[in-house]
């Protein structure tokens, strides 16, 4: 079902993670991703995993929900693992035909898979606990200095928030159209790849038409409310850092510094 795609979906809540300032969440998530690539030894991974699990725990997002977010990428993850196992030189662990799996390969594969899953989980957590609007608000504020370099920060943020806002709407719409065509005997699931591609026409045509209609309506609605870009625009919600952000920052700085130190020490 299309509904299972949870990427970019927000689960409302009132936990301390939900209440954090979006700027702090963005900064910490970015730092987490960087540090994830810096990390090398098992101990570093354990530290980052602990950081991640603490955050998941605090956000009260169910593990099953996170798993559903990771699932669409399982194929890519398995492929990465397989290629790493096969193409890493070292002591052979398993040999058949012309393929050799090495101990080093297995180790690298495990590392890569954990890294990818931890990466996805970290970013999913950000979108699960932050509403798209708040998220873009935060992003816009963080990127504000770039306005001096004539980067259209506001326009980019607005485009992003509209895109995020309409993902669930379009998914819902697609679900409805699929059902309506199925009710007329459309078959999206069986047949050759060509037949299946052709079967998508009854879905895609109405979906595009409705996307254009929505875009049109939205543009008119925005103009009716005198939208004219970011210049001189103030925000209804003023972002403010609170003590939660301070605690989160301290906790993260300690963990992340530890990982970097371990890397420098070569452990």
């Amino acid at each position: 079902m299309l509904k299972d795609i949870t990427l970019g979906q927000y689960f409302p809540g009132t936990t301390s993670i939900h209440r954090m300032d979006p700027r702090m969440k963005l900064i910490l998530t970015t730092a987490y991703i960087v540090v994830l690539f810096v990390a090398k030894g098992i101990l570093s991974y354990m530290l980052l995993l602990a950081w991640l699990l603490t955050t998941v725990r605090l956000s009260r997002i169910k593990i099953s929900v996170i798993f559903r977010g990771v699932r669409p990428l399982l194929f890519i993850i398995s492929l990465t693992a397989l290629l790493n196992m096969l193409y890493t030189p070292g002591r052979p662990a398993l040999e058949f035909w012309i393929l050799t799996i090495t101990y080093e390969g297995i180790f690298v594969a495990i590392k890569m898979v954990s890294r990818i899953i931890m990466l996805i989980t970290g970013t999913l957590l950000l979108t699960y606990t932050t509403s798209p609007i708040v998220l873009t608000d935060g992003l816009e504020q963080l990127l504000n200095p770039l306005k001096k370099l004539r980067v259209p920060v506001h326009e980019l943020a607005m485009m992003m928030s509209i895109a995020l806002r309409f993902i669930p709407t379009l998914i819902e719409e697609a679900d409805k159209i699929i059902n309506a065509q199925k009710a007329r005997g459309a078959d999206f699931e069986t047949g050759s790849i060509f037949k299946r591609a052709k079967a998508l026409i009854p879905l895609l045509v109405p979906l595009f038409i409705s996307a254009f209609r929505r875009a049109d309506e939205l543009a008119i609605a925005m103009e009716c409310r005198c939208y004219r870009g970011g210049e001189g625009r103030t925000s209804l919600r003023q972002l403010k850092y609170s003590s939660i952000d301070l605690k989160a920052m301290l906790f993260s700085v300690i963990v992340f510094t530890a990982v970097i130190v371990l890397r420098v020490l070569g452990i």
Binding site: K3, F11, P12, K62, S64, V65, K176, I177, N179, A180, Q181, K182, A183, R184, G185, A186, D187, I201, P202, V205, P206, I209, S210
Partner: protein, 287 residues
């Protein structure tokens, strides 16, 4: 006589295991006889659309069974697609699903999925178009050149062309002007009378249902609250009102009259009945 459609302890839960979990059907047991014209009514969110999507196998029950001609439609997974041809479902705003470059081809989509020959398809398309009042000239147009009401009727024809044994329509008059509404309803009525097809009409307008349905099913909060003829149902006007369903205006007038102490029957729902009732009352008071 055995029911053409029957549900047994039907339950449906959306988003099981997520924070959005919601019970949309709670122990629904309905029975529909061949040739009936059923009105399914309920407030927005009461579960009407969810229920009808079970009747043609688009949704799978979380618990309970759906029987078509006495056979569980999920008994053989491979046959579920056939059920969709026998139980034709017209979704809400069906004009949003039009996709072909001519109205003719769009109406032909269903029958061609059923695997008919060109001439059989042609016969079905023309018959369906006639039922909904789409002219030959309109058949060769693009669906997007039609007016709102015409588009909607073309989309309904797309389901009728499959010659389903049961025709279900989800709020077919939503968003149309009164003339467009009456046009659609009279077309559906005509179709029902001519072929004696079983029809289930979903709406939240009591007036629409009172005029058309031979039996009414009232839903509230994922459950079936009442079933019966229009007369039965409207005699529970207070209960209906507490469910947020307005009884027809003429019924409201008669309820007021009765509350004022006049001895009238409050389950009146057409102007004709009202006239007869008033004459009756006058005669009583004159005597």
């Amino acid at each position: 006589m055995s029911a053409i459609i029957k549900t047994e302890n039907l339950h449906h839960v959306y988003g099981a295991g997520t924070p959005f979990e919601r019970m949309a059907l709670n122990n629904v047991n309905i029975e529909i006889e061949r040739g009936e014209f059923i009105g399914l009514i309920g407030h927005t969110g009461s579960g009407k659309s969810t229920l009808i999507q079970h009747l043609n196998g688009l949704l799978k029950p979380s618990h309970g069974r759906v029987l078509f001609n006495g056979v569980d439609i999920w008994e053989n997974i491979k046959r579920v697609r056939e059920i969709r041809f026998k139980v034709g479902l017209v979704f809400q705003y069906p004009e949003h699903q039009l996709f072909e470059d001519t109205v003719y081809k769009d109406i032909a989509f269903g029958p061609s999925n059923m695997g008919f020959t060109k001439s059989e398809i042609d016969e079905r398309v023309r018959e369906a178009a006639e039922f909904v009042g789409i002219t030959d000239e309109q058949l060769s147009k693009s669906p997007f050149e039609l007016s709102g009401g015409q588009k909607r009727r073309a989309a309904i024809a797309g389901v009728i062309a499959m010659r389903p044994e049961v025709l279900i329509l989800d709020e077919p008059t939503a968003g149309l002007d009164p003339a467009g509404r009456e046009e659609i309803l009279s077309r559906i009525r005509g179709y029902h009378e001519k072929l004696n097809t079983t029809v289930i009409l979903v709406t939240h307008s009591m007036e629409e249902i009172a005029k058309n349905a031979s039996r009414i099913i009232v839903m509230e909060d994922a459950k079936v609250r009442m079933t019966g003829t229009a007369k039965d149902i409207f005699s529970h006007a207070d209960e209906l009102e507490s469910m947020g369903l307005a009884v027809p205006q003429i019924t409201q007038v008669f309820l007021r009259l009765r509350n004022m102490g006049l001895d009238v029957d409050p389950s009146v729902y057409t102007i004709d009945q009202a006239e007869r009732e008033i004459m009756e009352v006058r005669r009583k008071y004159d005597a």
